[in-house]
Symmetry: C2
Subunit: 375 residues, 2 copies
């Protein structure tokens, strides 16, 4: 089975889930907390894992991860982790259970409160430990299994990005089998998350050519396979490539991301709307591509080439056409956002970690215009 | 300064050499052995390093590395390392001093003889330790600073490839300044080494898409900048990109290499001819590209795209034209090889580690034909 060229071992192929007992043993985890969500419980996979681990001790399960995981949910899962004397975390799901599980692993070995680890406030110096984590993605988009970042909506309403090389899952098991049957809309939204990661990473201002190469490869792969995965959820080849593109997006965004993610985080923190992160990225991406274009002429040529578009093709338009063809909304207005939300979102976008690496400087006025353009 | 997305810290930019005292301190090296060669001594860089390290203890220098480093030279350097009670290695130079320095680091902490660590003979299980290594390339081609492989010509006439994640230099300092003024022919030959690494890695049979992406990025970069670096050795931008492509080639060839390298190793072990590894790769590459083509249709399309060639362009011909335009020989016959050498080289090529990952199976008859085609 291929093990990727990544700072953590990423076991990648159909059947990778079967490596779980070995991975637990290697990491010395005897009482794992399984961080997942109610949707996954319904699929029967938790029982499959319980059977697989029979004889390896109990499986403690936290399945109440909300979409856009909150600080409150992290603390609930942490209380369970402590009460059950767990010694490691298995993250199973899309980005939400994975990010929640990473936050639990941090607070299991570093003091509360979580907010003190905000990297923009020098938080990385305060990290004391991070419990062993095994990440098992069940969607192809977030890439959290191959990333050392996680994002939590805090009780004070901010959506904070935590990023530290120590937060990389110790093992990732990427089994495309687990995405067979993922519904078309979720396939589309998570797939566009992977595509946005690849594109924003390639455009991000830091200099890191190997990461650019990985991002372009992920984009090449995802652009050719996303429609197939949406149209036929049992297309194993398309599922394999989409899961690979998802991991590659995360390997690429060690460079950083950009304004799309700042805006998605600012919108995703509005709890009443429960907006999907990948869908937000897909819908916001065209406006930001138009905004950044003058600052990234050569990189845009490489993105077009990876996507098989002719020289000079309109990238933003190509994304809009992809979104429409896979059933994603045309604008933020279709998702429940209005002009009235903009003033609340703008300062959060400005303060977001990803704003620092957007290839073109972005200020509050720019964000207000970008939100309007994306409505 | 950019630190690359690599398993080891690669400090990459003009001025990176200045990080050397800090790197020694971080690795706890107080008596480094500097592994280099006579050509480097003549440039004055050793005195520059000695001045830089004044106050950090003595600098023990082994400057007798031969081209295609031999087991005998490794043992001489090891004797000096031991006599001077060194505790780490600084490799300074092209691939030869880097590979020699890695072999010294291995034997400093694992028992002799070197041959027992041949990975094809289960040698990796016998590795006990590897002394701290700092790699400082002065050419742009080998990528040894970002690779965990090294190649030594053994006393019994074999050219063995050693490969183990533990053999990755602990720190790499990539300073394109050190390649300013490298003569055109050496720039050309080492540059084609980097290009061959990128191409053979992308074509190698193991599945590793992130490594493919890194190799394609390296090829994209090298193909655009090699002629510039050859024509004007002081072109800083071209030197930067060539050194980056060299590191990327090595990051990509974690996948493995192919028949070009098997043949280059088989020819490079003929001591009387003292053939340059990069030049051999450049001259052999077209014949192997013709041989592999039917097995790698999609990958060839991606290589063409990275090189800016039109769809369907003849890759082998493009390499031949590049070789001619930068002053490299047209064939192995121009380098002193004859039909009479083939019978001796073929079994070495068959037994070479890189033969296992060539995209099309290669046997002794194929190698004999390939050598004839490359003459």
């Amino acid at each position: 089975m291929p093990v990727l060229n990544s700072p953590n071992p990423v076991h990648f192929d159909f059947g990778a889930l079967a490596q779980l007992p070995k991975a637990l043993a290697r990491l010395g985890i005897s009482r794992p907390l399984l961080a997942t969500d109610a949707g996954l419980r319904a699929t029967g996979i938790i029982e499959r894992i319980r059977t697989m681990l029979a004889g390896h001790g109990d499986l403690i399960c936290f399945d109440e991860t909300p979409p856009n995981p909150t600080e409150a949910a992290v603390l609930s899962a942490l209380a369970l982790y402590r009460a059950e004397r767990c010694d490691g975390v298995i993250c199973l799901g899309g980005g939400s259970p994975m990010d929640l599980g990473k936050a639990v692993a941090l607070l299991a070995e570093s003091a509360e409160p979580l907010a003190q680890y905000d990297p923009l406030q020098g938080g990385n110096k305060r990290v004391k430990g991070f419990a062993p984590v095994i990440a098992i993605p069940t969607t192809a988009g977030t890439g959290s299994e191959a990333s050392y970042g996680f994002v939590i909506t805090m009780e004070d309403g901010r959506k904070l990005t935590f990023a530290n090389p120590r937060f990389l899952p110790h093992v990732a098991l990427c089994d495309p089998e687990l995405t067979i049957g993922l519904p078309p809309l979720l396939t589309a939204a998570t797939g566009m998350d992977a595509i946005t990661h690849c594109i924003e990473a390639v455009l991000a201002s830091p200099v890191n050519p190997p990461a650019d190469g990985v991002g372009l490869d992920g984009l090449w792969r995802a652009w050719r396979h996303l429609r197939r995965a949406v149209e036929d959820g049992s297309d194993r080849e398309a599922r394999w490539h989409m899961m690979m593109a998802s991991a590659e997006g995360a390997l690429a965004f060690v460079k950083g991301l950009g304004a799309v993610h700042s805006m998605s985080h600012a919108a995703g923190r509005i709890k009443s709307l429960r907006l999907h992160h990948g869908t937000l990225n897909a819908v916001i991406l065209p406006a930001v591509l138009r905004f950044n274009e003058s600052h990234c002429v050569e990189a845009y040529a490489r993105l077009r080439s990876a996507m098989g578009l002719p020289p000079g093709a309109d990238l933003a338009r190509a994304i809009e056409e992809m979104n429409a063809s896979i059933g994603l909304p045309r604008g933020l207005a279709n998702m429940g956002l209005t002009v009235a939300h903009i003033a609340d979102m703008v300062p959060h976008a400005v303060a977001d970690l990803s704003t620092r690496t957007n290839p073109r400087p972005v200020d509050a006025d720019d964000y207000a215009q970008l939100f309007r353009a994306a409505l």
